[in-house]
């Protein structure tokens, strides 16, 4: 209900839409992060695996198997009447990666959320975005009671490229999440500028 009701006869505003992905392991706080900045309670969309996953999953012999759904939570931030940013939490399980391809198409960039107690859970996401040259940053979600490590140590443990920003964040905290999102957009800008330079030279 954000675009505002148009006056009678006046065509509604058709906004430009952009998306940022939020990736990371199961339970790392993706939906919490989306909820911290979204103007709507995170919504859930679903896709049936039998349809979307046909080329991926071999169902021979288990035709009677019930369909599985892949759920994605997303939120929305209206930046201006004509500019809307969507945040999509990627499905956690690796078997749903075909959904990632669809989600990442046209995405501005991504936040990979990491938990220092289970750092390996975000390796797959880091690899994914690196290989596809999608600009991303790593946000280390500082859970209460989780050990804190210096940024350099986490960076090393993740074997991050020098150019990939890494920051400490709190997925529950609006200001902290805003900062992470701004970081993604800034990184995407720098990345695009680099790419333009390498094309023209």
């Amino acid at each position: 209900m954000i675009f505002g009701r148009s006056e009678r006869g006046k065509p509604p505003v058709e906004p430009v839409t952009l998306k940022i992905l939020v990736a990371g392991g199961f339970g790392v706080g993706k939906t919490t992060l989306v909820g911290a900045v979204s103007e709507i309670r995170p919504l859930r969309t679903e896709e049936l695996l039998t349809e979307a996953g046909r080329p991926v999953d071999d169902t021979s012999g288990v035709e009677g198997k019930r369909t599985t759904t892949v759920a994605m939570d997303f939120g929305r931030i209206t930046l201006r009447e004509d500019l809307v940013l969507y945040l999509f939490g990627t499905p956690g399980q690796e078997r749903f990666w075909f959904m990632w391809d669809e989600l990442s198409e046209g995405a501005l960039g991504a936040v990979v959320l990491a938990d220092t107690r289970r750092l390996e859970d975000c390796f797959a996401a880091v690899d994914y975005f690196e290989r596809r040259s999608i600009p991303f940053l790593v946000g280390v979600n500082c859970f209460e009671g989780a050990p804190r490590y210096p940024v350099e140590d986490v960076r090393q443990a993740l074997d991050l490229d020098e150019g990939v920003p890494l920051l400490m964040c709190d997925a529950r905290d609006r200001e902290s999440v805003k900062e992470a999102l701004i970081g993604v957009v800034q990184h995407a800008m720098a990345y695009a500028a680099d790419r333009r330079r390498s094309v023209t030279t």
């Binding site: 952009l18 969507y86 800034q186």
Partner: protein, 113 residues
């Protein structure tokens, strides 16, 4: 239990349609004022036309709002585009990052939240 793809008469894609992005925005055409009079349309088609009349909605929002799988919404929206009840604004195409000025607007907008 409802079988969602019954609404699309078993179709999983719509003819002549590129796959609609989750953030593609669906806008009802001003002349589509009485979709219920069209007997080719299902109640779900009519819902989409009505939902997108005053407030354009993304494919993802429609799927969440109508509680339908994304694939079903894509087919239904494709039908409505063919029948000229709605049009769709596609987001910035992949591999073509939005202009720098839009990115700057996004940063400023986030700061101002």
């Amino acid at each position: 239990m409802v079988r969602p793809y019954a609404m699309t008469r078993g179709r999983t894609s719509s003819q002549g349609q590129h796959r609609l992005d989750l953030i593609a925005v669906v806008v009802t055409e001003p002349h589509a004022d009485d979709p219920e009079a069209d007997h080719m349309l299902s109640p779900e088609h009519v819902d989409i036309v009505e939902l997108c009349r005053d407030i354009p909605q993304s494919v993802a929002e429609l799927a969440a709002e109508l509680d339908l799988p994304i694939g079903v919404v894509r087919v239904l929206v494709g039908d409505l585009v063919d029948a000229e009840f709605v049009h769709v604004n596609r987001p910035v195409p992949p591999a073509e990052l939005p202009d720098e000025s839009i990115l700057r607007d996004v940063i400023n907008g986030l700061r101002a939240l």
